[in-house]
Assembly symmetry: C2
């Protein structure tokens, strides 16, 4: 991680691409909103999300008969890959078909899986260790080269720490927090890990040393529960259909599980499939805004310092969960 | 505000009531969860919430015929009092009866009021200025004495900044963030203001210099939108029934307003009443955990450093919105 942190420090010192706040304040009138900045991004700033990294969850139709779909993007290597391999195995075995959403705790998580806890798991699932919640120095040594090769990123000078005073990004959880290769991360003392922001998906587990298999998953539906960082494996994030999870009725049982008298509130999971197992014409396609683009740097700066007409006082900073990476659905031919 | 900030600094230097993290880690096994710490609080640590500060919202019954009630606690003086006076006037005039919830934007806000925007407002509403979003030095000079007299608080040595490294509390939004008299605040450059955390209630407005009357209100239902701090008036927080707002179907129109083809999703507001206008036997009663108590200091420390059995790595910090003030309903005789 030393190399990683050193690089981050260099970026913080590099010439900012963004005008200082004072200069921008002078131009406040007519300033673009974060959404307008993203809408104006050139096509070259958008990066295709590999269909192999999509997890498509189909829920029971709503009361009006509308099909309900939630799409999750899985994290790239080297983070949480053992659990993600298990998720690919479980989806391939159609293991989740007929399971349900069993827990909805307000301002916390929605959780799904086998309510009976007796459904046999597929063979060959990996057993992961607690040390796999983070990435160590030794792993990071290869990560940069791998990501440059496979994700076409270069930890470029437009990384969002360029555009903001780093002291204004601390949330008390880590020495460094930043976004790159399309994901939010924190780093501290030679380790890095993904962060529990709204919509992130993690692996439910029992008491330590259990780390979960990936068969029980949850999505964050409230204020970022950062105390879960490094305590549970994050494996991805909801990129479409989040509202179908966040608007579910809250469970009245302990921890938000549906109680015995409200089991009819469990939503049935029709299927969960990997994107690349779906026929090409039906598979959804998505792009994310390159977090190494100049557009992203301007977007991050605008999230931290709103100057569009509604706002009168720019915040002067933002926590990492308030700078969500823009993602859009694209048409498939 | 200098006095205010100076006092905070003194507290940070005073002898901590909490064991250092290292010492506590040695006792990790069997450590209490934040909830267990709160449950064990002596009765003397709980402070009655004045019934005059409660706003009771009754929504149309759900599909099963259950009555739906949401209770809001209004902020104490000197914050946002002009808007709060308006809210008392509006509730007294039964102005909200027959209005509706018109906007539900995922990971942002639920908003209610008169969808037609044509309902005449009661006479005598105050017009507030943007400078009233914050409290200045000169106002704070009297605040401490007022609050000590009316809320029985003493900015005591058990303020939560005692128990945590202040450098671990910054979220990039202000120089100081802390909780006292039962509420979360940020302070910076001679000003203090309440913070947009989950469940906080604010006054919707049009473009500056409009500041809203209080007739259109919103509650935060996602990750803390701290960029709204100092840009909109916060007037209170939901203390019961939050799940009835957060689980509403998201609007498909712009900004999460319900679109023309989904107006049936608007939830009708049967009534909104001040707690002290409700007959004594029907009025709800609540208490908050004194934020000046030793119990609160231990609770805040446990939120920032989870050591109960599920956790393996304490976060080492918390942002102010992850240390919600515990509130409980109490029986009325």
């Amino acid at each position: 991680m030393k190399k990683y942190l050193a690089r981050a420090a260099v970026f913080a010192l590099s010439a900012p691409i963004i005008m200082p706040v004072a200069a921008q304040d002078a131009e406040q009138k007519g300033a673009q909103s974060p959404g307008q900045i993203v809408d104006a991004a050139p096509a070259s700033d958008w990066v295709t999300i590999a269909v192999e990294d999509l997890l498509v969850m189909t829920l029971a139709a709503d009361t009006e008969g509308n099909p309900i779909q939630v799409v999750i993007q899985l994290m790239p290597a080297p983070f949480s890959q053992g659990w993600i391999d298990n998720i690919r195995t479980l989806a391939g075995a159609k293991w989740w078909d007929g399971t349900s959403i069993n827990r909805v705790q307000d301002n916390y998580v929605v959780q799904w899986g086998d309510a009976s806890e007796e459904k046999p798991l597929p063979e060959g699932l990996k057993v992961m260790g607690e040390s796999d919640y983070v990435i160590e120095d030794s792993t990071m040594a290869d990560t940069e080269a791998n990501w440059e090769a496979t994700h076409n990123v270069g930890f470029s000078e437009f990384s969002f720490i360029d555009s903001l005073d780093p002291t204004r990004l601390s949330t008390g959880y880590a020495d460094e927090e930043y976004v790159f290769a399309g994901w939010p991360f924190a780093a501290n003392k030679g380790e890095a890990w993904p962060t529990h922001c709204y919509g992130m998906v993690g692996v439910a587990r029992n008491y330590s040393p259990d780390t979960g298999t990936g068969a029980e998953l949850y999505a964050v539906i409230g204020h970022a529960p950062r105390h879960l960082d490094r305590n549970i494996a994050l494996v991805g994030r909801v990129i479409e259909g989040m509202e179908h999870l966040s608007s579910l009725p809250r469970g009245k049982g302990e921890l938000g599980f549906y109680g015995e008298d409200e089991l009819d509130k469990r939503v049935s999971i029709v299927s969960i499939r990997m994107g690349n197992s779906i026929s090409e014409s039906d598979a959804p396609a998505f792009e994310y805004l390159s977090t190494e683009s100049e557009t992203f740097a301007r977007y991050a700066d605008a999230r931290a310092n709103r100057r569009d007409p509604f706002f009168i006082v720019p915040a002067g900073g933002a926590d990492i969960c308030n700078i969500p990476v823009p993602i859009r659905r694209v048409a498939t031919d």
